[in-house]
C-alpha cells in the first residue's frame, strides 16, 4: 500500500522537477502577489487631491484650509476662483473632493455664529468618500475648538480655564498604528495558498484524465484512496512550502509581527491545506477537461475570497451571506492567521476554527471520494 502511494509521490515530483514552468508558477507568482497585495491593498486614504474655493479670503478661511495640507491626508491640487471648473474636475476623476468657503465665513465666526465649510465629494467609491469626509470632519472640529478657545482666552481668560473638554485616547490593540499591511499580509498568505492548492490539485488530476494515464493507473491494483493520497500528498508538500515562502516574505519584507505559537499556525496550515486539497479533488471529479476545471475553479475561488473576511468584514454582510461563509475554509484560516500573527492567541481561542476546518475537510473528502468512484464510470 505504502509502496504504491510512494510510487505516485515520486512520480509527481519527477514531473514537477522536469516542468520548468510549474516551478516558476510555484515560486514567482506567490511572491509577486504578496508584494502587490502588501503595497496596494489598503483601506487607508492618503494624499487625497482636493480643490479649494475660498470666497471669503479671510485670516480664518486661510487658516482652516491650510490645516488640510498639514496632515498629509490631503493635497491641494487646484485653487479655484469659481465653481464652473468643478464639475469637469470631479467628473473626470481628476479630483475626488473640493472644499468651499462662502463669503462671510469669518464674519459669522467673529459674531459667534455657525459658519459653513462645504465639502463636495465624488461618492462613486463610497468607502473612500466616507473616510475622506471623516478626516474633513476631524479637521473642521479641531479648527472650531481651537478657534473657540482662542476667542475665550482673549475675552475672558478666567472662564477659559474652566471649560471642560473630552479628549480621545486611541489604544488600538494588536496593531497600534492601524497599519493596514498588518491586516492584509496574513490574509494574503491564506488567499494565495487557497488559489495555488485548489488549481494545482484539480489540474493535476484532470490532466491525467485527459491524457489517459488515470485510466492506465486505475487498471493496476491501486486502491482509490491510495490513488487519492498519492495525488494529493505532493501538493500538500508543495502547498506547505508555498505557505512558508509567502509567510517569510510577508513578515520579513513588510515587518508584520508574528506573536503566536508557530505550532498553532502549523496545525491551522495543515488543516487548511487538507480542506483545499479536497476542494481541488472535488473539482477534478466534476471536470473531464482542464478547461472545465479552470471554470469550476474560478466559480469557487472568487466567492471564496469575497466571503472570507479577507477584505470585507463578515459581520457587515447580510445574514444569508454570513451563512455561506461557514462553508468557506478560508474564513477559518484567516482567523487563525491573524490570530497567530497579530494577536498571539493560541488553541484556547482558535479551537473552534481548527475544528471547523477538520469537519469541512472530512465532509469534502467524503464528497470527493464518492464522486471519484462515480467519475470512473
Amino acid at each position: 500500500m505504502f509502496d504504491r502511494i510512494w510510487c505516485m509521490i515520486v512520480k509527481e515530483f519527477l514531473q514537477l522537477r522536469r516542468d520548468k514552468y510549474a516551478r516558476f508558477r510555484l515560486i514567482v507568482p506567490p511572491i509577486l502577489q504578496m508584494l502587490i497585495y502588501g503595497y496596494a491593498a489598503t483601506f487607508e486614504v492618503n494624499r487625497v487631491q482636493i480643490a479649494v474655493m475660498d470666497f471669503d479670503h479671510s485670516q480664518e478661511s486661510r487658516d482652516l484650509l491650510s490645516r488640510f495640507t498639514f496632515t498629509g491626508r490631503f493635497e491641494v491640487a487646484k485653487v479655484l476662483s469659481n465653481e464652473h471648473e468643478l464639475k469637469s474636475l470631479i467628473g473626470s476623476s481628476d479630483i475626488p473632493m473640493a472644499l468651499k468657503i462662502e463669503p462671510g465665513f469669518a464674519e459669522l465666526l467673529r459674531k459667534g455664529q455657525t459658519a459653513h465649510l462645504q465639502v463636495i465629494v465624488d461618492g462613486t467609491n463610497s468607502n473612500t468618500a466616507l473616510i475622506a469626509v471623516g478626516y474633513v470632519n476631524q479637521i473642521a472640529n479641531q479648527f472650531s475648538q481651537d478657534y473657540a478657545r482662542d476667542r475665550l482666552n482673549q475675552m475672558m481668560p478666567a472662564l477659559a480655564a474652566t471649560v471642560p473638554q473630552i479628549s480621545l485616547e486611541q489604544r488600538p490593540w494588536y496593531n497600534p498604528d492601524l497599519n493596514s499591511q498588518w491586516f492584509f499580509v496574513p490574509g494574503v498568505i491564506g488567499s494565495i495558498t487557497l488559489m495555488m492548492v485548489v488549481t494545482l490539485t484539480a489540474f493535476a488530476i484532470v490532466r491525467e484524465r485527459e491524457i489517459g494515464t488515470l485510466e492506465q493507473i486505475m487498471v493496476t491494483p491501486i486502491r482509490p484512496f491510495e490513488l487519492i493520497l498519492g495525488k494529493t500528498i505532493p501538493f500538500f508538500v508543495v502547498g506547505l512550502a508555498d505557505v512558508v515562502l509567502v509567510a517569510v516574505v510577508g513578515t520579513l519584507w513588510f515587518q508584520v509581527p508574528f506573536r503566536g505559537n508557530p505550532l498553532v499556525l502549523l496545525l491551522g496550515v495543515v488543516l487548511f491545506l487538507m480542506s483545499t486539497l479536497n476542494v481541488g479533488l472535488l473539482i477534478s471529479t466534476l471536470s473531464s477537461t482542464q478547461q472545465q476545471a479552470f471554470v469550476l475553479g474560478f466559480f469557487f475561488l472568487n466567492p471564496a475570497f469575497t466571503l472570507s473576511g479577507f477584505a470585507f468584514p463578515i459581520t457587515s454582510m447580510p445574514k444569508a451571506m454570513q451563512m455561506i461563509t461557514y462553508a468557506n475554509p478560508l474564513r477559518y484560516f484567516l482567523v487563525i492567521l491573524r490570530g497567530t500573527f497579530l494577536k498571539g492567541v493560541g488553541l484556547g481561542i482558535l479551537w473552534p476554527q481548527m475544528l471547523a476546518l477538520a469537519l469541512l475537510t472530512s465532509v469534502l473528502l467524503l464528497a470527493s471520494v464518492a464522486r471519484f468512484h462515480k467519475s470512473i464510470d
Partner: protein, 317 residues
C-alpha cells in the same frame, strides 16, 4: 494452449442512458488464446474490454477473468491483467525507464524481479541505450512497445489490448504482433480489439461485433467460409458505379460491393459466372476487365454479415 477458460463472458450488457453499447454478449477465451474483437468504431469493443478490466460496471450479465468476477472482485482481477489502450497512456514528461519504474511500483514488482523485468522490457521494446530519453520524444512504435512493456511488467495472465496499433507504422505493427504471439506461446491470454482486417488475421479466434452484438464468432478461416454464402468473384469493370448497379440485377448474384477499384460479387454456388456475368454486363454498357474467383477476406465476411457496411473506409497505413 489448454482448455481452461481464462475469460468467461455471459450475457454481458452495458447501457449508457437509453443507449445500449454492449448487448447480450457472451464468449469464452481459453488460456493462451489470442481472441480478437473486430468491429467498426463505436461498435462496443472498447466498452467490453473496459468492463473486463473493471473500469466500467456491467449493467447486467456477468464476466469472470481468471476466475474472478469483474464486478465484485475487480481488485483481484486487476492483479492478473495488463491493459494497454489505444492512447499509449504513458507520461511523456518522464523518461522511458521512469515510466517502467512507476508502473512496476504500482504493480508491486520489486527486488530482483524489478531489475529483471525492467531489463526485459527495455530489450523487448528495443529501447536499449535510449532509456533516459523522455517518452514524449520517442516515435510511435517505440512508445507502443514501451506501453506494452509497462502493461506486462507484472507478468499478467491476461492481456487486454484496445486498438493497440492505431497510428503505428507497418513495420512496428508487425514487430508488435510478433511480441504478442510470443506472449501467447508463454500462456498469456490475449484479448485484442481492432478494426484492421489484416490484424484480425493474427488472432486465433475472432468475434465480429456490430452495434453492440456479436454477429459471428470463430477462427478467421471459419468466419470467412461461413459468412460468405456462395462463390466470391473479383470483377474489374468500367464504369464501376454502373457495373455495381447493373450486376445486382444479374441472375444468381446474391450481393455485390465495391472494394477499392473493383467489385466483389457473391454468386450462388453451382453457376458459371465467369462466362455469364461479362455477357450480362456487356448488355448494360459495362466493359469488363479482369474477372476471377477469389477466396473471401474478413472484410467480405463482415460486409456480408452486417449488410454491406464497410468496416474501415481506409486500409491501414
Amino acid at each position: 494452449m489448454n482448455d481452461v477458460p481464462s475469460i468467461v463472458v455471459d450475457q454481458l450488457v452495458k447501457r449508457f442512458g437509453a443507449f445500449t453499447a454492449v448487448n447480450q454478449v457472451s464468449f469464452e477465451i481459453r488460456s493462451g488464446e489470442i481472441f480478437g474483437l473486430l468491429g467498426p468504431n463505436g461498435s462496443g469493443k472498447s466498452t467490453i474490454i473496459r468492463m473486463l478490466c473493471g473500469l466500467l460496471t456491467p449493467s447486467s450479465g456477468s464476466a469472470t477473468v481468471v476466475g474472478f468476477d469483474v464486478a465484485r472482485q475487480a481488485e483481484d482481477v486487476r492483479r492478473h491483467i495488463g491493459y494497454m489502450s489505444q492512447k499509449f497512456s504513458l507520461y511523456n514528461d518522464l523518461t522511458a525507464i521512469e515510466n517502467l519504474q512507476f508502473f512496476a511500483g504500482l504493480y508491486g514488482v520489486k527486488g530482483r524481479a524489478l531489475d529483471e523485468r525492467i531489463a526485459w522490457a527495455i530489450k523487448m521494446s528495443g529501447l536499449a541505450g535510449s532509456e533516459q530519453l523522455l517518452t514524449g520524444e520517442l516515435s510511435g512504435g517505440w512508445k507502443q512497445r514501451l506501453a506494452l512493456g509497462c502493461a506486462v511488467l507484472h507478468r499478467p495472465r491476461v492481456l487486454f489490448l484496445d486498438e493497440p496499433t492505431a497510428g503505428v507504422d507497418p513495420l512496428s505493427r508487425r514487430q508488435f504482433w510478433e511480441l504478442i504471439h510470443q506472449m501467447s506461446r508463454e500462456g498469456v491470454t490475449i484479448l485484442v480489439t481492432t478494426h484492421y482486417m489484416d490484424e484480425a488475421e493474427y488472432c486465433n479466434r475472432l468475434a465480429l461485433i456490430d452495434e453492440g452484438r456479436i454477429v459471428e464468432m470463430g477462427t478467421p478461416t471459419e468466419i470467412k467460409q461461413t459468412a460468405v454464402k456462395g462463390d466470391l468473384l473479383l470483377i474489374e469493370c468500367s464504369p464501376l458505379g454502373g457495373g455495381l448497379a447493373a450486376i445486382k440485377q444479374a441472375p444468381g448474384v446474391i450481393d455485390a460491393s465495391v472494394f477499392g477499384a473493383a467489385l466483389h460479387v457473391v454468386v450462388s454456388a453451382g453457376r458459371d459466372p465467369v462466362t455469364e456475368l461479362p455477357a450480362f454486363l456487356a448488355g448494360h454498357d459495362v466493359r469488363v476487365g479482369r474477372i476471377e474467383p477469389i477466396s473471401p477476406s474478413l472484410e467480405d465476411a463482415f460486409v456480408s454479415l452486417t449488410g454491406s457496411r464497410a468496416l474501415s473506409s481506409e486500409p491501414p497505413q
